[in-house]
Symmetry: C3
Subunit: 342 residues, 3 copies
């Protein structure tokens, strides 16, 4: 597969400067060869252009004169580069049909263009849409409804009754629809609360490896269109995640939390149950959110790292910060008095 | 399935007020229809009773007059509701027997009433008890012993030699019996410590999706009866978890820690290795426990979230808290001296 | 299997004191019987020697006179014990060959001495080396290259094109080569960045249960020889982990971070993207590393646990630490002035 820069401009816009060369692949500045395209998204990488062996570059108007390489000017070089990368690297598609080693229940409805991989299984009355690929070892429960153009990597599990939209990508080991964690105390033991809801996932969602999404207790757990979840994220029962919200790896969202649209949660962020988070909230990595956030903005609660000795000296005071504050107040009172006594 | 309120009272106790109507399902206040039962566990949800279309409600004696709906009075409406939910929603049971696509070693002993799902595998000399269901893709190692009335959702893995009691529920992706993390340094490389113990799990335990429980190094890793683990929990080798202890998602318990009975660990709590935690200890979410806790009670170590600007202003002082404390002490000395000088 | 102490000394070095007895197994002090070997690595366990029923013990020269048991003196009793444990407990090996229920693509090359377990699958053009064991339900993608003497426990997934060295152990549920988390914002939605790199894993690496390792975006994600990863670790795209570095469970390493050789990361430590960590850095448990660490040493950022009441009193001041510092400075100014006024 190969494209002239002018062909890319025709597809994706932008402005061509220099020779109309052919590119066959995208690459990093360091690894690029003469038929490969690179990009400069940030001024600080500009100087790498002097050493790259790349054949062409995507950059912004502000930096167009920084090189004499064939180049495409775009307001968002990273996005432009991503579009070219996708064009040049369509995912390999297994052939349509049910692999002879897979098990599909007789009552399931699998579109003829879908592909069910080796040793996968599809339960009773499940529906698999057009062009959807379920790779080896996927487990689709009874009555699950999966849309078209989805891709499930090996060993994904979807429990009974869950609904998944179109163009959804799910990575290996992800579990969708497991029971929420609900237990009532009888006075001497736990009694499990049946989890009677389901999981509803919109279109254009991506779910990372080993991410778990519990079904609702009564209503459903919901991911709206365009949500992007990285690996090892935990979404508890009855959580609602708004459109286009993205979460980095290892985030935990506890039961019935409601996350707005267009939010970004950094890695290992942890959201308490029943909390509400407004649209366009950015929670930084390793931050615990124990109360609702009602205003867009960036929020953080990271404890800073130090050398062991420094930490030892400093952290001990955390346990008696209230004492420090009281002593300070007392001093202020006394010094104030001293001032008055003058 | 449908029950009159009087039939429920006969089974589960409580006191009927109003008409002896029929209920077919449980529901939330918002979604309930005329043949559905709701509950009010907390005063603050009482006013929702005015708008619900539910047919009946479970509530406490203190709130019995808040509605004219048919109602059952119980000291614990949440538990009562859970019992009714379980009665009305028995889990679907696959038919007994080994699915033709499953592989069961000839030396394994599978009770005739058990169900081994599609493409599951059961190793040599394993034993599977009466009415136990192993769903699609479960992997049961050699010599594993699983009791009766258990339910393992798809793609659960149990390593060789582990023992699991009766009525144990394990969710998809959970791994039981993987090697503990033990390495000895030779001076130039790591030498793996063979993990020769096993995992022993009692009765009435539930284990969440993608939770991992390592086998012991020499002795066993133990979960006592009634333990409840949510998703993505890590239990390291030789950990001992006491009866009825419940852990929310993403908790990590490091090697040889000993957690008492009836404890509750909040989401993402992290317990250091070799630590001992007494019975009835409640550790709040996102708290790191780096030392033993000898007394029942609630413990916490959460760093509070703030807006980015506020955090920036405040957190910088954490790195020099010791300096602040020294300056305060010095001021106290000087102001004290000033007082003496008067 | 049984060895005289003198035979062990011949293999592993050390110095025999007392009778040349036979040992058949290793054990803990409490559980050991007369044909079992124990070890004392730390002085504080010395007194347990009085009660043990063990047949022999490994200890250091400094403690050789603490018991009259048959004993082997070694500078590193823990390592010595581990070597004996490995000798006495070779892992059970399934017989070579492809299990009849497994699926191996016709173009894959599986060494005749390798073992492919029940219901496992191996993709096109994959290569599986000599004596490697893939247990039940493993999913090996197209073009994957796995070396010799590896052991993959059930339900491991390796995506297409990844490369794995010799003597690599991977535990159940681990996912190697899933897509890195890369999304460009179009102004109205996320556009997925194709992840075109791969994962390269060296020799003698161990990877824990449910650990996930993403493939690189352009270049590769790399684990060098001897790396040891515990369970539920997340390694993002383009991370580079140096030789012999060990990470405890639940660690998260964000994209393009570069971790040096011989580092140790404690449980739940979290490393920010693009950060560089020098060789021989020890990061303690539950610590967030948000900036590069250029010097070997021990680093920590743990928030201390307290009783709920104490925490409530203290933590509130964290949100206005800057105010406290300002007031302190102000007092210093005033008290200083007072001194000058004297």
């Amino acid at each position: 597969m190969a494209y002239r820069l002018s062909e890319l401009v025709e597809r994706f816009g932008g402005e061509l400067h220099g020779d109309d060369v052919v590119v066959e692949q995208v690459a990093s500045m360091e690894a690029a060869g003469p038929h490969e395209l690179v990009f400069v998204g940030d001024q600080k990488y500009l100087k790498q252009l002097d050493d790259t062996r790349a054949g062409a570059v995507v950059l912004t108007a502000a930096t167009v004169d920084a090189t004499s390489l064939p180049r495409i000017v775009s307001p968002n070089p990273y996005l432009y580069f991503a579009r070219v990368a996708a064009l040049l690297n369509p995912p390999a598609r297994p052939r349509p049909g049910v692999h002879p080693t897979a098990f599909v229940d007789a009552s399931a409805v699998v579109d003829a263009s879908a592909s069910i991989g080796p040793l996968a299984s599809v339960g009773a009355h499940a529906r698999i849409g057009a062009n959807t690929v379920l790779e080896a070892g996927c487990r689709i429960g009874d009555g699950v409804n999966i849309g078209g153009d989805c891709r499930f990597y090996p060993n994904v599990v979807v429990y009974h009754g869950c609904t998944i939209g179109d163009r959804v990508v799910v990575h290996s080991g992800a579990v969708i629809g497991s029971d929420g964690f609900g237990n009532a105390w009888t006075g001497s033991e736990w009694f499990k609360i049946p989890q009677l809801g389901s999981v509803r996932i919109g279109n254009d969602v991506e779910i990372g490896a080993s991410t778990t999404i519990d079904r609702g207790a009564l209503g459903d757990t919901v991911l709206e269109d365009g949500v992007r979840l990285d690996n090892q994220i935990q979404i508890a029962h009855n959580v609602h995640v708004g459109r286009n919200t993205a979460m980095a790896a290892c985030v935990g969202v506890a039961g019935s939390a409601r996350i707005g649209a267009n939010c970004m949660l950094g890695g290992s962020a942890m959201i308490l149950g029943h909390v509400e988070i407004a649209d366009r909230v950015n929670v930084m990595a390793a931050t615990y959110v124990g109360k609702s956030i009602k205003k867009a903005g960036t929020y953080v609660g990271q404890y800073p790292v130090q050398s062991y000795d420094d930490w030892l000296a400093n952290a001990s005071h955390l346990r008696r910060l209230d004492g420090l504050a009281t002593r300070l107040k007392d001093l202020e009172r006394r010094v104030g008095k001293t001032d008055e006594n003058k």
